[in-house]
């Protein structure tokens, strides 16, 4: 489903060139649950951004669902993100003036989906993520865990091919973090492909496939037998 081949990403910091990714090749299959770990500066966030089409590699090839997306124009990338990728961020990134329901609806609104269909999907998502009583609340009236559930529901609203979570528990206490991971894992159990970037080994261990990056290269790629 996803095939990265020889991905290079170089940042220019002043006069220096920083190699964030050095020839990363990676296949991700439909329905996988993987974690990307590594020390800071190892390139794990850069890899996630490239997977999420928020960043472009300097070299290499990215195939998504059999299509080469490496050379797409900016607005085409936006369209692919909208259709195929769901993001979950460390700081939730909910729009503060919109209610939980409106935040979940936002990708569908941007995609121009008609209100009746949106309503139908929103009701389902609110029920699935236990947010029905919170639908009319604004983010500042929600707990961190609820905010992240809203963010996950939002990521799921377009039925994405891939869910990308960047330190999804980084801003939550341990208990709430585990709750949020349980929600992400449910997405995976229902057939979703989930990739989690984390520096927390306990979170990372939960995934069935664990990729470890060191200095922009894949140092290890382990799988548990149970998937």
């Amino acid at each position: 489903m996803i095939r990265l081949t020889g991905i290079e990403r170089v940042f220019r910091v002043g006069d220096e060139e920083v190699h964030a990714l050095r020839g990363v090749s990676l296949d991700i299959a439909q329905g996988e649950y993987l974690s990307i770990m590594g020390p800071s500066g190892s390139g794990k966030s850069t890899l996630l951004n490239i997977l999420g089409l928020l960043d472009r590699p300097n070299a290499g090839r990215y195939e998504l669902n059999g299509h080469d997306v490496t050379g797409l124009a900016d607005d085409e990338l936006a369209r692919v993100r909208r259709e195929a990728i769901g993001f979950v961020f460390q700081f939730f990134h909910l729009v503060p003036r919109l209610t939980a329901g409106q935040n979940i609806e936002l990708p569908m609104v941007l995609a121009g989906i008609d209100p009746a269909e949106r309503r139908r999907r929103l009701d389902k998502l609110l029920a699935d993520y236990g947010l029905v009583p919170r639908a009319g609340h604004r983010p500042d009236q929600l707990s961190g865990g609820q905010c992240q559930r809203v963010a996950i529901a939002r990521a799921m609203s377009m039925g994405p091919t891939l869910i990308l979570a960047d330190e999804p528990t980084g801003n939550l206490d341990r208990h709430t973090g585990q709750e949020v991971m349980a929600v992400l894992e449910r997405v995976h159990h229902e057939g979703g492909t989930v990739a989690v970037v984390t520096h927390d080994p306990e979170i990372g261990k939960r995934a069935h496939r664990r990729i470890r990056l060191v200095d922009g290269e894949i140092a290890s790629d382990e799988r548990s037998g149970d998937d």
Binding site: Q30, G31, N49, G52, L54, D55, D74, D75, A78, R79, R81, R82, E83, F87, F89, F91, H93, V95, P96, R97, L98, Q102, L106, P107, V109, L110, A111, G112, I113, D114, P115, E117, R120, R121, K124, D128, R154, M156, S157, M158, G159, E190, G191, G192
Partner: protein
């Protein structure tokens, strides 16, 4: 593949063609677009209100100033058309400029009563009435008053659409030997006779005695001339009184549907034949109105432009607030881009905010300007104020235009942000 299908149906239901439709639609539904924009504006009520106020003041001042300009326009035109529009003034001498003093006569050949009589035969002409004007003292029963005296023919009131309140206007006597009759302006009648009926009374005008045959309806002032503080006597007697040979003007009225150029040509032909040269000036009322109209339009435009300055200031307000808004909402812009908003959508969202903000301000400004205009009208009835609805529509469009212009820069900046950088900005 089975699990994938579960996910799909969980989210999308059984709507198989949905993916296709989704791919085609690249833009938000208009209603959502407006709702989203409104929510952004409502999130900062005070800020929105103050920014809109800037535009409101601009639009209000444009509306108010153009209303006064337009009111003035209508007032002046009404003042001049109260005598009718199908009038041509014939004055002695070649006077190229309009509006020369009535007394400043520099003529080659006098304009005579017989000229006026001859002009009645010109094509389309209804009335050609001679006029001489001056000052005279009128005396009755020990009261005396210095008034404006008009020496006219019997058709004067008809030519200038003036009405007689009681009695009649001067009778159609032999123009060279008319009887000593006088018609009084309403103010003169009141000053000399009070509430008594002046008809049939004898008064002294200059050194001669005249019999009052009529009293005019009140006509008010025009450009400083009190048209009621006047007396009207036969033109030949007035010429004798002032010891003049020439009339000051002949008022010619013509059939309203007649072509002006042909009317003018007819008059010119007759007078040139009588005088041997074109030593007179024709001044059609219509042409004067056109000149006035041009001048007054220019004044209206100028005051509108002055109001426009405050509108520009309002636009700068929008620019400022939107620039701040983009800076504050960088992270939100990043999120919107991450979840699939195109650059175009971001640009449209911010332009929409600018347009909505200025439209709200514009509407408030219209209301404000119009309220002040009504208030002015009620407080100072003499001040002519008129707000054509076209101006209101135009002002609202201008407001939205100003908003869009002010929004372009911040909106472009917002659209050009790198999604990743923007996301990190929190």
């Amino acid at each position: 593949m089975d699990s994938r299908k579960t996910l799909d149906s969980r989210i999308r239901g059984n709507d198989g063609c949905f993916a296709v439709r989704r791919a085609e639609s690249d833009l938000m539904i208009t209603r959502d677009f407006i709702a989203f924009t409104l929510a952004s504006l409502k999130a900062h009520r005070l800020r929105t209100a103050l920014t809109a106020l800037g535009i409101a003041v601009g639009i209000a001042s444009v509306i108010l100033l153009t209303s006064i300009g337009e009111g003035l326009h209508r007032f002046v035109i009404a003042e001049f058309t109260q005598f009718g529009t199908n009038i041509i003034g014939v004055a002695p001498g070649r006077i190229q400029t309009h509006g020369a003093s009535l007394g400043a006569v520099n003529t080659v050949r006098p304009l005579s009563i017989d000229d006026a009589i001859a002009l009645r035969k010109a094509p389309y002409v209804q009335v050609a009435d001679p006029l001489v004007q001056g000052n005279a003292e009128v005396v009755h029963a020990g009261k005396s008053r210095r008034v404006t005296l008009y020496g006219t023919g019997p058709d004067f009131s008809k030519a200038l659409s003036m009405r007689v309140a009681s009695g009649d206007y001067l009778p159609p006597d032999d123009p060279h030997a008319a009887r000593a009759f006088v018609v009084l302006g309403s103010k003169v009648a009141f000053e000399l006779f009070g509430t008594d009926n002046p008809l049939g009374s004898r008064i002294r005008v200059g050194s001669e005695r005249y019999r009052v045959v009529g009293v005019m309806e009140s006509k008010g002032q025009i450009l400083g001339f009190d048209l009621d503080d006047t007396v009207f006597i036969p033109v030949a007697r007035a010429l004798d009184m002032f010891n003049r040979e020439s009339l000051m003007e002949i008022h010619v009225t013509y059939e309203p549907t007649a072509p002006l150029a042909e009317v003018e040509e007819g008059l010119r032909r007759i007078l040139v034949a009588r005088h041997g040269a074109e030593d007179f000036t024709l001044t059609p009322q219509q042409k004067m109105l056109e000149v006035f109209g041009t001048v007054l339009d220019a004044i209206t435009f100028a005051v509108a432009a002055i109001g426009g300055i405050s509108l520009v200031v309002g636009g700068v307000g929008i620019l400022t607030i939107l620039t701040i808004g983009v800076a504050e909402r960088t992270s939100e812009i990043g999120l919107l881009r991450a979840i699939g908003a195109t650059q175009r959508s971001i640009m449209l969202l911010f332009l929409g905010e600018a347009a909505l903000l200025s439209a709200i301000g514009g509407a408030a400004g219209l209301l404000l300007g119009w309220s002040i205009a009504v208030l002015l009208e009620l407080t100072f009835p003499a001040l002519p104020v008129h707000t054509p609805w076209m101006y209101a529509v135009l002002a609202e469009l201008v407001a939205v235009g100003v908003g869009l212009a002010a929004g372009v820069m911040p909106a472009r900046h917002a659209a050009g942000l790198d999604p990743l950088e923007a996301l990190r900005s929190e």
